[in-house]
Symmetry: D2
Subunit: 287 residues, 4 copies
């Protein structure tokens, strides 16, 4: 069991009346419970919340008036610690559940339809299973330079593959793309991660469907994946942007704090993770 | 009320064991009822059906063994005739329902994030509303050459915009892209249409969210949109391909028949469509 | 006759031994003579100069050692004033001289092969001639936002056309692309321009082949084209980058001064330019 | 010494008056002499010939009237046999001759500026020299599927790299791109090659600048490179298309014959090629 404390402060300058869609609240699922939270928008405005059933994503919508806008979110989040077996199998397409099928399709950022030969060449000869996805993650870590500023909000996995640089979102998109190109369902996960080195920021990783469950992977290796406090899960970053803006609004500041308050997973009664890297948080474990 | 008869025959050569996902059955919704249908796959194989709640899409999944494969679908479909007012308004983003929001995001084929300035320049000065979407449709019809062979399964709206040629799917994708770039939710619709000139084929059009309802548009102007027998509705063609193949399978033949058996909309008791072109089929009208 | 004074100071930090190719010296041609100049590279290094016969481009090559590097160029340049008739005709392809033909082909930044339908739609119905090229320039000025930071060194004309923003180089590339797509030879010209508003910077414009001569156009309208002190002329910016670096070298500073010392074109004996905007500097006029 | 016989017959249907630029005549250089040739265009039209000094390319320009058009070219060509040492070195950029520098720049089909990290990752650790270029060629041969129909006239090296399929031109463009990305000058060469298996066709290969000379490479391995009868040499295929058409002209037929009449290189007095694959034909050897 993990207990994390999160603080996010986002500042904007609103030039004209706008509509905003936030995706910064910790998701609620069988694996993650929010034990306390507070969202303050200044100046005050009616907040409308809605939740995406399948993913647990929680969205907040509101209208923003011209002037400065401050968004402050605080939460304490309890997460189950999950041991991921290191022998999870890829699932034949015929066994992939109906509702998971669409995570096999190409999306705005993940042109898996263009990269099937590529994926076959690089990973097609490896034995199927979690080890193959780990090989994809290793390849991305070794081949793509993590370089802030090297990409922008329009950069796709294909461009990252050619230009060999990107940020966490780009590396995750490339992982998703390779998986889908190999008929492994995959999706983007965004959230808060406690990095050893500042500054704290939103983080993006990905999940692959293995052995009938979603398993988390982080090609950046910037932090163990079991530190992730999940916010959103989607086909790619367009589904789970932390803030989608309709209107003329400019970000003027961003500050995040993530603290691990308690980590009971290190107690002797819990078996250690077999790989130390691959963690899932989806299977129902009593909190 | 319309009554249509559909026949589709698809032939494949399966080179190795494969999994296939069909989206060729007429959708069931408040606006469209299937009064009789038959799906035959030869050689026989267990068929698994599932339905997408929101859209009414019906998918059929099955495993295919090596050798020739024949798929034959027949249906009689009754569709409501809907009069679309010609004064439908665009909806401010703040009023767009939660579940419609994701039809405002860019997708694999519809890079609306890259084309917002473009859309603003071409259509930003027009009065908002159904007339503006009709202007988009007119622009596409006048500017993009309908040219089979000019595009392929990887062609995106941005490419169609630059190269000015495409097929029905491409024109619909461009319409969706312009709409989304203007903050008008839009989505792809595929189905069967009775064309005046053979050959019959699957057709792709698009819907925009206007006045709180989905309204159909066809930039190809190949047939009135109220002839559409709806099969699938999705974010773009990746969601509603008529056949998604996992494996080494080649199409060897395709033959479609669409007939209008009865068209009561022409009877004097029904008011004529005000535009003669723009038809919606989503609002619940008793069949 | 114009007399301009130029000063350019470029500072670099060289991380490892590198080779550099400068294209910052004023070109020498029948229309432009350098009456005095000085190029200083600090620390001193052997400079190798070569000249491109056709274009008058003058390149300087040298090896750079690790450490700070300073390049300072000063020149006084006399330029002929040329009156461009406003009735210049487009030339049928069959009459285009052999050596001009390659300015009709697509290049790295100018994908004219992809944009022929586009160019035809936008400008195909206009009467051929200098007025049509002026219409292209007007369209670019009105449609593409001049926005520093909106593009980078890999941005092509096609991207500028879709995304509707760029800097001077991008606008010139788009002008070239439209011209070539209409079978009008066109090429990039870079140089120094005296802007009314600081800061001074390198500038990029383009030339189209009309009436048997090269005619200058500037879609940015940031300064009259007859203020241009020409440095380089090429197929696109890859031919005439002001500095091409082979190695690990980072720019740390750039400062330019351009002054018009004397402008005899304003004297009463010279007829005013008919359009006030379109100036050519290629035809031999005695200095 | 090799003696080859070439026949090319190209048929077109000209819909409207057009201008055509042919590049099908065997080049003349110190390494290749044309001992007899005939070019017939039907219906007869004045032919204008020009030669590109640097490359030896010979272009033919003419106006075409509406109706069928037949082009027939026959030639006998004597080519020197050149032994390429297998220890040729890459040349430091500082030593690359001025006139070779522009073969290091990206072009329409060869976006070497986007692929420098990629090239470094794949080939950066190999010892510089002809062996590294051979490794590039081997990688392309092993990684890119030769597949007619997989690309078209707009396909670039970057696309080929992602999609892993192409024709001879595409494979050559990718070889050029990798070389340039590694600061090795490279250029496209097109010509006639006697293939063991029909049909005969135009062929495209590439040359890299090694040890102060141009060395031929063929990533398709469809025929030994010393069978090439050179027609054109350029920055990429836009410079040396076998036929560039200005107007509405459609190809209706193409038939090529290439025969090796005599191959004195097999005589005992000639030392065998050290690699059996890498052949150059540029260094002056007396014919």
């Amino acid at each position: 069991m993990h207990l994390s404390h999160i603080e996010a402060q986002l500042d904007y300058e609103v030039a004209a009346p706008a509509h905003m869609l936030l995706n910064i609240e910790a998701a609620r699922s069988g694996m993650q419970s929010v034990v306390g939270e507070e969202l303050v928008v200044e100046p005050p405005t009616p907040l409308r919340l809605f939740c995406d059933e399948g993913s647990g994503n929680r969205f907040v919508r509101f209208d923003a008036k011209p002037g400065p806008l401050k968004i402050a979110y605080k939460a304490s989040v309890r997460r189950a610690h999950v041991v991921v077996p290191n022998d999870l199998a890829e699932m034949p397409v015929t066994e992939v559940p109906d509702e998971v099928l669409h995570y096999m399709m190409p999306t705005r950022y993940c042109e898996s339809d263009l990269m099937s030969r590529c994926a076959q060449q690089l990973f097609g000869d490896l034995p199927p299973g979690i080890g193959r996805v780990q090989a994809i993650v290793d390849w991305i870590h070794d081949s793509i330079t993590y370089e802030p500023g090297s990409s922008d909000s329009t950069t796709t996995a294909r461009e990252v593959f050619v230009e060999r640089a990107g940020v966490c979102r780009d590396l995750a998109h490339l992982g998703i793309t390779f998986c889908r190109a190999l008929n492994i369902p995959a999706r983007l996960v965004v959230g808060y991660v406690w990095f050893d080195e500042p500054p704290q920021d939103f983080h993006a990783v990905f999940e692959a469907w293995l052995g009938g469950r979603w398993v988390l992977f982080d090609p950046t290796r910037m932090a163990p994946v079991d530190r992730l406090v999940r916010v959103g899960t989607g086909r790619d970053a367009k589904d789970v942007a932390f803030c989608t803006i309709f209107g003329d609004v400019r970000m003027t500041g961003k500050k995040l704090v993530v603290r691990e308050l308690q980590d009971e997973s290190l107690q002797p009664s819990m078996p250690p993770s077999p790989t130390g890297e691959v963690m899932g948080i989806e299977k129902p474990v009593p909190l």
